[in-house]
């Protein structure tokens, strides 16, 4: 993926941009920098299959919001959700924070590496499908370990489930997100464990 030399918001994004800017009082439009960066990254993902933020896109955000480019770079590099390097179609984000780690995030990461041939975090697979990153707590610890793929959380992961998921993704399917072990949302594994009967008054 080479660095593009120009960027502008397309019609679909522009509607979102206008909406985001309209949320802030006039003159304070720079507050919309986060949504705009996100819209830009999604547009690039939509058009090229790699959702990332080249410098030209950040410059465009700076121009639209009338803020110095460096201020946009500061924000974009601060948040890990913005990819300042090209990524694959599927951005595999392995949660490595303590609860996930205790529940086997190492295994999830290893399975990702094995399936994609990626050697370490931050890399993209040779076929361009996958990029592997380590992220901090995704806030879904009850169903640890968690693997986030683009916007979707796949929970209760283990090595076979990773392989199954990635195979399906590569085939172009979109497996249902959420817990992968059949539990309902964040209910206990294997069905309800408390309040099985309604206690008599």
């Amino acid at each position: 993926m080479t660095e593009p030399t120009a960027f502008s918001f397309d019609a679909e994004s522009q509607a979102l941009v206008d909406g985001a800017i309209a949320k802030y009082p006039p003159g304070k439009q720079a507050s919309a920098v986060l949504p705009l960066l996100d819209i830009a990254q999604r547009q690039i993902g939509r058009l090229t299959g790699s959702a990332w933020l080249p410098t030209v896109a950040m410059d465009e955000v700076g121009r639209v919001l009338d803020m110095p480019n460096i201020r946009v770079y500061e924000v974009a590099t601060f948040y890990l959700m913005f990819n300042i390097k090209p990524v694959g179609h599927f951005h595999l984000q392995v949660c490595g924070t303590t609860p996930c780690w205790l529940r086997g995030s190492d295994e999830v990461a290893r399975a990702c590496r094995e399936f994609t041939g990626i050697k370490g975090y931050g890399e993209t697979s040779a076929d361009g499908y996958f990029t592997l990153s380590e992220v901090e707590c995704l806030g879904a610890c009850v169903n640890a370990p968690v693997l986030q793929v683009n916007d979707d959380y796949y929970e209760d992961m283990n090595a076979p489930r990773v392989a199954e998921l990635l195979t399906a993704l590569k085939r172009g399917e979109h497996p249902l997100r959420g817990p992968m072990n059949g539990r309902q949302n964040s209910a206990p594994e294997g069905g309800p464990a408390t309040l099985l009967t309604i206690p008599a008054e």
Binding site: T55, N69, I70, R71, Y73, E74, T77
Partner: protein
């Protein structure tokens, strides 16, 4: 006012001050890295910790904590000391131990403060963090591993310079200070980053590995590379000027210095005239002083005064201009000009050619119109003051001239002087802004005056000023922004009489004495005119000369200058002129003796007495009375205001005089401006 007790000393400080300021008022020095009195408060280095009574029992960052009446502060309790030691230990975790090869060594805040708060051994055995260096262009060298993330450089470029290019990208352990994209800094004030960086992360590229501060002799002087009159310190070792740094002068440059003034000094070593030259058979040849003088004398025989003329250049000191004026008088000539660009400056009254509001006075103004000037290039420090005022708010600014990024918000009205008419008759909307303002001001640049209709424009500008309430008994908002350090003194000394430069060219005189005059087209001098060039650089004037008399550059003589504000200041000799070169007034004094009309002064004191006799203004060193305008009669108008578009007064900021033209550093700046490096080249240059 709030009463604050610091270590038992009670002081009164204005409400809204911070605890650090209160401590300073009490004479207690507080160590700091991120706090800088001219920048916003970041409060991120935590070095300035103090203890405050009746507050939660923890150390407070004094720079970011406001004072309250009755506050009791301790700066030397065991808790404070331990806390500062802790901060220092953290700062040093990732700071390299490379002081022996660091250019900041000897003038480094971190080095100094670690003497007070650093441990004698390190408890940190892990790897230190390493950060790749950034390429910030030809002036600022980076060693980013040394950066302690104080963000002063970021705040300086955003707040003072108004060119927000520095920032902190990524976060935590990965945070890096730089421009993110590799590009040379585009501010004319970038050299100040070197001064404000408390460690050796940002240092001077041209000065890299040149000297240690304790080897240098320091001479206080004033800058002459623009007409602002910034206070400088010239650091020398032996016969070499090694660096120029700003000194604090709140009324002029505060504590900043523009890049040309700071970095053009390597031009002082190149293309110097260090011996007299005389033209023999069409070729310049080295000669001796007596022979050079004899050649001029021979040419002078039988020449009537009317056929002799003298032009003073942009860097001239008042002493040498007065001596030249006296020599010319002895020769019977009154053909003197110090306006090389032909600017229609009316010398009849000081107010017509000076910056009357004064630089500090800009902060009082409440509306500004800039006409035919780009202060960012012509006087970066004045521009910084305008920006400072602009940031305070309620300061509408309009610009007529060549459209430019002036670093502050302004309304661009257009590029033709015809707009003046609309402002005067009120049809231009900005006219009502000026009329409605209490202290409106106007800056007229040389770009508005150095043109055929300059006199008409000057008169129109003055009239506009008078009509919009800029000229009142206690406010003078009319300002001419000079670009030449010698210009105001020249006009004050009456170095603008008889034939003008234009009239002297093309054979208007038979002998033309150029005192450091290089900023006009020397090819326009008549082929039979005998040219004496007295100056320090082999530049345009010397190339056309028949006799060259080697003079002294501003760092090599004791000279008096008048800044564009009308401030009389003295530069000082820091090193001696090279080779055979002499201080300029001495050359003229020696020549006057030779022609049998010795000037009535043998030493600088006597000459300076003469200066005062010539114009009492010269007695008023360093002070600038705040004038209003008591007489609103304007300068004489000649002809009508034309409609030619304004042109820039200076072509390129980095090269405006013989010194900066000879400077490789300035050449590198222009190169960086014209041909920005590719990212790969930048990465190479950074290492």
């Amino acid at each position: 006012m709030a009463k604050v007790t610091v270590d038992g000393i009670t002081v009164e400080v204005p409400n809204g001050s911070n605890v650090l300021q209160a401590c300073e008022a009490a004479g207690k020095e507080i160590p700091r890295f991120c706090y800088h009195e001219r920048l916003s408060v970041a409060g991120n280095c935590r070095m300035c910790l103090v203890e405050i009574e009746k507050a939660p029992p923890k150390p407070f960052a004094s720079c970011a904590y406001p004072v309250a009446d009755g506050m009791v502060v301790h700066t030397d309790t065991p808790m404070v000391k331990a806390a500062r030691r802790g901060v220092m230990e953290f700062l040093l975790i990732n700071h390299p131990l490379d002081c022996p090869i660091c250019d900041q060594g000897g003038e480094c805040d971190l080095q100094d403060q670690s003497m007070g708060y650093g441990g004698d051994t390190s408890r940190y055995h892990e790897n230190k963090r390493a950060v790749t260096n950034k390429d910030l262009g030809p002036l600022v060298k980076t060693v980013m591993t040394r950066c302690i993330h104080c963000t002063r450089c970021i705040r300086f470029s955003t707040e003072i310079a108004g060119v927000p290019e520095m920032g902190a990208t990524a976060r935590g352990e990965s945070m890096e200070v730089g421009t993110y994209i590799s590009k040379a800094l585009s501010s004319e004030l970038s050299g100040n980053l070197i001064d404000i960086c408390p460690v050796g992360a940002l240092t001077s590229k041209p000065y890299a590995f040149v000297a240690r501060p304790w080897e240098l002799k320091k001479t206080d002087s004033v800058d002459v590379l623009d007409a602002v009159g910034a206070a400088i310190r010239v650091d020398t070792r032996g016969s070499e000027v090694l660096r120029v740094l700003p000194r604090i002068n709140e009324d002029v440059n505060e504590e900043w210095l523009a890049d040309k003034s700071r970095f053009a000094l390597d031009g002082l070593k190149r293309r110097r005239l260090d011996t007299p030259w005389v033209k023999r058979e069409g070729k310049l040849a080295r000669t001796t002083w007596p022979e050079a003088f004899a050649a001029i004398e021979a040419k002078l025989t039988g020449l009537s005064g009317d056929r002799i003329g003298a032009v003073a250049g942009n860097l001239c000191d008042a002493e040498s201009m007065l001596a030249l004026k006296h020599v010319m008088a002895a020769l019977g000539s009154t053909n003197l000009d110090c306006r090389q660009d032909g600017a229609a400056l009316d010398p009849s009254r000081r107010e017509f050619f000076t910056f009357n509001t004064s630089i500090a006075g800009i902060e009082e103004a409440d509306a500004l119109i800039i006409i035919g000037s780009n202060p960012r290039h012509e006087a970066p420090l004045i521009n910084a003051r305008i920006r400072k005022r602009s940031l305070m708010g309620a300061f509408p600014i309009a610009h007529i001239g060549v459209a430019a990024d002036l670093t502050y918000r302004h309304q661009y009205l257009g590029g033709t002087p015809q707009l003046l008419a609309g402002l005067r008759d009120g049809s231009n909307a900005f006219a009502s802004v000026l009329r409605g303002a209490k202290k409106p001001m106007m800056i007229v640049g040389q770009g508005a005056l150095a043109r055929p209709d300059g006199a008409a424009i000057l008169a129109a500008c003055w009239a506009l000023a008078a009509e919009t309430g800029m000229l009142t008994p206690d406010w003078n908002g009319f300002n001419v922004l000079q670009t030449a350090a010698g210009r105001v003194a020249g006009l004050e000394l009456g170095f603008a009489t008889g034939k003008t430069l234009a009239q002297m060219l093309g054979g208007g005189v038979d002998l033309l004495w150029l005192l450091g005059a290089d900023e006009f087209d020397a090819a326009a001098i008549g082929p039979n005119t005998f040219v004496v060039y007295q100056g320090h650089h082999g530049d345009r004037g010397a190339a056309r000369a028949d006799v060259i008399l080697p003079g002294a550059a501003y760092t090599e003589k004791n000279g008096t200058y008048i800044s564009t504000e009308g401030r009389v200041q003295r530069g000082a000799l820091a090193v001696f002129p090279p080779g055979e070169a002499k201080e300029d007034w001495k050359i003229l004094r020696a020549f006057s003796a030779l022609i049998g009309k010795p000037l009535p002064y043998d030493n600088l004191e006597a000459l300076r007495m003469c200066l005062v006799q010539e114009n009492p203004l010269f007695d008023r060193l360093d002070i600038l009375p705040h004038f209003g305008c008591s007489d609103t009669t304007g300068p004489v108008s000649v002809g009508a205001v034309g409609d030619a578009l304004f042109e820039p007064a200076i072509e390129n900021y980095y090269m405006t005089d013989p010194i900066s033209r000879a400077s490789p550093t300035m050449a590198a700046c222009i190169e960086a401006q014209k041909h920005p490096k590719t990212p790969a080249e930048s990465a190479m240059a950074a290492e």
